[in-house]
Amino acid sequence: MTTVMSKPVSAPGKSIIEKLNFFTALALGAISAIVVWRLALQFLPEDTEVRLFTREDKITLLSMTAWLVGFMTGIGALVGPFRWLMGKDLSHEENMFLAGKDMGIKRYFRYTTDHKVIGIQYLVIIMVIFGIGGILAMLIRTNLGSSEGGWIHPQAYNSIVGTHGIIMIVGTIIMVTGPFGNFIMPIMIGARDMAFPRLNALSFWLIVAAAVPLLWGQFLGGISTGWTAYNPLASQAPLGMDGYIMFICIFAISTMVAGANITTTVVRMRAKGMTWNRTPIFVYGVVASVALGLPAFPVFFLSQIMSAMDRALDTSFYNTAGGGSGWLYENLFWIMGHPEVYVILIPAIAALMEMAPVFTRRPLFSFNVAVMGIAGISGLSVLVWAHHMYLSGWAPLLNTPFMLTTELISIPTGMLFLVLVGTLWRGRLWMTMPTMSIFALLWNFMIGGITGIYLSDVPADAFLHGSMYVTAHFHYTLIGAGLTGALAALVYWFPAMTGRMFDKKLSWVAFWIVQIGFNIAFIGMFTVGLAGQPRRVEAYASTFNTGNMITTGGAYLIMSGMLVLLYGVISSWKSGVKAPKNPWQAKTLEWTVGYPVPLENFEVLPTVTSDPYGYGKAQS
């Protein structure tokens, strides 16, 4: 619970807050895990014949929990709550220390509460996540380069597919709301920081803590179930599954905390005069995303807790022999899983809607329709989950209603398309990489959306389900729309975050290589999917050779483009052209503060007197 000091108490000497950092967190996490592992080995009773293998799961899960507690204690996450408990609230000096005042680069390795530091931390960790996920993708595609496959062991291949899936899903969930929702959004609404700065730091460091169990799991048999981790398959999987379970549980907590924090910030801390009609559309996108996650991720969290209980305690939630049900898991998973698609997409599309008026010098076409579209998608997205389960045999009578709700969601999605097209229509375009990204989104998401309609249709899904067509479809939405929007946001807000312009030439080169590679890769995948190639296979019939070769070639192009982009980030950040105060001549508040952004963002909190898209209007 965040507190406001009533009686400031300065700790004598060097406060414990000043001693804790990323390295103490690593050390304490590792020591805690090792100690608990040894104790569990020593004292946990052996399995009986009835309950085999649960002891190893208990030991693994206990050790991973100890890692989490040790890491979070070592980073300083528990200082605030315990100081509250003791009635010794943090002093002004301690809060300033936590905010990273005058601390230079060290603040990026501490439990720093400044939203700008956290935004940069997210940006870096997302690049790491995409780097690892990308390498795994290349391993998959290289293995599928020839029909025999074979150079990766099938068990390892399955684990690579599962790890690639979950790591990329998590990366795409946080790729916009993490860096830009943290760095840009509070300034955009005229706030000095997030509503709960310590919770903000908690959300970030939980993600760092979550990475270790996932990595740990790779050495314990990996994630052989695919990213969905369906039960009872997951309950029979090797110990690596415990890493997945722990990863999801920690990530879910992080998401819930971030959701409460961001929503409170926007509802309670917008600048004076920033009515809902004057609130930038990007803010709507971020809030819709985290607000959707708020009720959705606890369901996923529970599904994983029950999975852990089945594995470690031998309960029967998913084990049909004991009265459980695999359908139960599928329901819980997809109740989270489908809103999660929109948790990824909405902020990315909203970021592009934010940029469209800037680069067309026109007001956003029908702001209200954009808001209704976002609200409509958010509302409907919680009513479509069972379209993933048409062929599972669960409740066939519900197939038609779920088909209807799924197809209905194209209406609010179409609204967002219309807003973008309407804004571009007859505009004098300032051709930048973000501008081209809007066109790329319209093209890619059109393909992703239309192919999705076939999957929402029960008879067509009966043919396409479980094929590479499905894989191509969701990559068209998550990369083609989501990642495209995120990369545009990176180039657009790069000057505000780093004080330097993103290298224009490199941004264009990266854009075209990624987009061409992406379309080659996944159109190739559609063709083999339509021809009947199943997904998640390590080898395939030679008839699918050509399509797979094309897909693998496209994947290498995507990788090349992403490497160019990475080089662009590093070189521009290090030695790029210094950015003027408002390089895009935009009208939102984040461009009014200059670089470096002051610790409290604004010397005097701004008052908003007009809407953010008043381009081409009198007195704009």
């Binding site: 959701g259 924090n261 029967s316 004991g322």
Partner: protein, 200 residues
């Protein structure tokens, strides 16, 4: 920069209202979690897969009979008493009666300790093992979640009482208001568990 640094310039009511909304939103997540548990309970009970909701007697073990509903309702009654004590303390804080605030907070804290001990005892003395079918799995799920909730309640109510004891709530008491929100949810979540387990 943090809330605290500029809280000096903000009215406590503004900070309090922000914190209250934050806590309510966190509770939205917790409510989603708890309702999912209720869904799991009634789903598995309704399906009764392989007649294993309450397994019949076999050669290896006796028939599994549902636990009496009374432990669930007893815990709910104890936390309701804690909530009432907290209300009493909050009323004291509002009327600037520090003695009443301290007394109410202390009684609420004691109630949370009694509740967690009782809950632990219920889990420890349950007459079945984890692998005794779907009903038993759900029983443990509810009982363990309630235990975790109660552990948080002990932490929060201890802090609340300690801060009241130190006189921190003399000038403003929005913390005590927010702790009340938690207590109300604690009662409701206990109630959900008790209701579900009363319908085996």
């Amino acid at each position: 920069m943090s809330v605290e640094t500029h809280a000096h310039h903000e009215h406590p009511d503004v900070v309090g209202s922000r914190n209250r909304l934050g806590v309510i939103l966190l509770l939205v997540a917790d409510i989603a979690f708890a309702l999912s548990m209720v869904f799991v309970y009634f789903y598995l009970r309704g399906q009764n897969v392989n007649n294993m909701w309450l397994p019949a007697a076999t050669e290896e073990h006796a028939v599994v009979t549902p636990l009496s509903a009374s432990p669930g309702w007893t815990v709910t009654a104890i936390v309701t008493f804690g909530l009432l004590a907290h209300f009493y303390g909050l009323k004291g804080a509002r009327s600037k009666n520090q003695t009443q605030l301290k007394l109410g907070s202390l009684v609420a804290f004691v109630a949370s300790v009694v509740a967690i001990v009782y809950q632990f005892n219920t889990i420890a003395t349950a007459p079945f093992t984890f692998s005794d079918g779907a009903y038993v799995s759900c029983f443990y799920m509810f009982a363990i979640l309630n235990f975790v909730h109660l552990a948080l309640t002990v932490f929060i109510s201890l802090g609340n009482w300690n801060r009241a004891r130190l006189g921190i709530y003399v000038s403003d008491h929005w913390h005590v208001d927010i702790v009340r929100v938690w207590w109300v949810w604690m009662v409701v979540s206990s109630l959900l568990g008790a209701f579900a387990l009363s319908n085996p």
